[in-house]
């Protein structure tokens, strides 16, 4: 914006030239001064319109980025916190489940080891096997039962490791959100001023239409709650 003093300095020579030409009755000189005056005025208006357009563009751009950031801050970041809290619960539950199963196996192994030790001592004392037959048979029966229980516990330990798949999917979705946040903040920083290169973002494409596991408290729309629901739905479709 030019000040009144600047405007005076800018236009005064042409106004003076027009007044002089008028006094002198110089028609050509008057027209030349008037044309120069007009040109000077138009250049000023054009410059101002251009400046307003740039300001408006920047304001709109900032508004777009700020709206995106507000959405990220108000909705998606709290969702991400809930998702990560769910990951914690999943990993915690799985670790406890695994430890419970291992702790159930240990006494069975200890018991068998003790019984075997006792049988060896008894065999050494007796010096013959036939007298120990009832104890040996009881031991073998016990070994069979205990090992079946250990095998079943081990199968459950393996299943409990399935938490890694679910938690991995949730963590990936939070990583995508973090990438979006980074991108929006980078754009804002770019508009705000030259504070260094804007961060290059790499939000993963793909994953289209896949929502991942159901997370308590996060609404995905109509979801099934368990296998029975799935079976009922498919049965309704004639499967």
């Amino acid at each position: 914006m030019t000040t009144p003093a600047q405007e005076f300095d800018q236009y005064a020579p042409w106004v003076t030239a027009m007044a002089r030409a008028l006094d002198d009755g110089d028609g050509d000189g008057f027209r030349t001064a008037l044309a120069a005056f007009d040109q000077s005025r138009n250049a000023e208006v054009t410059q101002q319109v251009r400046r307003i357009a740039i300001d408006l563009h920047e304001a709109l751009e900032r508004f777009r980025i700020e709206s995106k950031l507000i959405d990220l801050a108000q909705h998606q970041v709290p969702d991400a916190r809930q998702r990560l809290a769910h990951v914690l619960r999943l990993t915690d539950d799985a670790a406890h489940r695994t430890m419970d199963l291992v702790e159930r196996c240990c006494p069975l192994a200890d018991q068998l080891a003790e019984q075997a030790e006792r049988l060896i001592l008894a065999y050494d004392a007796e010096g013959s096997a036939p007298a120990l037959k009832p104890q040996l048979l009881a031991f073998l029966k016990q070994a069979g039962t205990s090992m079946a229980a250990v095998r079943s516990n081990l199968a459950e330990v393996l299943l409990a490791q399935g938490y890694q798949d679910l938690s991995g999917q949730i963590i990936r979705s939070v990583m995508t959100l973090v990438a979006e946040l980074e991108e929006a903040l980078g754009e804002l920083a770019r508009i705000a001023g030259p504070v260094g290169a804007a961060a290059g973002c790499c939000a993963e494409a793909g994953m289209a239409r896949a929502h991942g596991p159901v997370v308590p408290g996060i609404n995905l729309g109509h979801t099934v709650s368990d296998q029975q629901d799935v079976d009922a739905l498919l049965s309704g479709l004639g499967m």
Partner: protein, 131 residues
């Protein structure tokens, strides 16, 4: 149902832990021939070149998701009748309907139990024997 131990299974999941769980459960059920792939892109050439009897696939995978793999299988004349069991955490009702419309043979939701997996495998193998 009597187990046919010579059946060839292809298990597709991007998480190696889940592939291992499924593979171990299949072994427990008496199926020893299990091949693994980590997404649809790596699974499809294996399916086209191999001689698989059952495909078990996750949905949410990078590269090619399970639904796309299912569609490609159904679109291939040689593979069109292959039993496909979707084993996934995807729980939206419309997704399950979409999988059914794409021709899935069974849908198991994660987390799952060994009994559920057995039941669904028995069911799709029984349907395969009839077909």
């Amino acid at each position: 149902m009597r187990v046919q131990p010579n059946l060839n299974f292809l298990v597709v999941d991007d998480f190696s832990t889940m592939r291992r769980i499924i593979k171990n459960l299949l072994h427990d059920l008496g199926y020893a021939n299990v091949t693994e792939a980590d997404d649809g892109k790596t699974a499809l050439p294996l399916l086209k070149d191999g001689n698989f009897d059952v495909l078990i696939t996750d949905w949410n995978m990078p590269g090619m998701p399970g639904l796309e793999l299912l569609k490609q299988v159904r679109a291939d004349a040689r593979l069109a009748k292959l039993p496909v069991l979707m084993l996934t955490a995807e729980a939206k009702r419309e997704q399950i309907v979409e999988a059914a419309q794409a021709g899935v043979s069974g849908y198991v939701i994660k987390p799952f139990t060994a009994a559920t997996l057995k039941e669904k495998i028995d069911k799709i193998l029984a349907a395969r024997a009839v077909a």
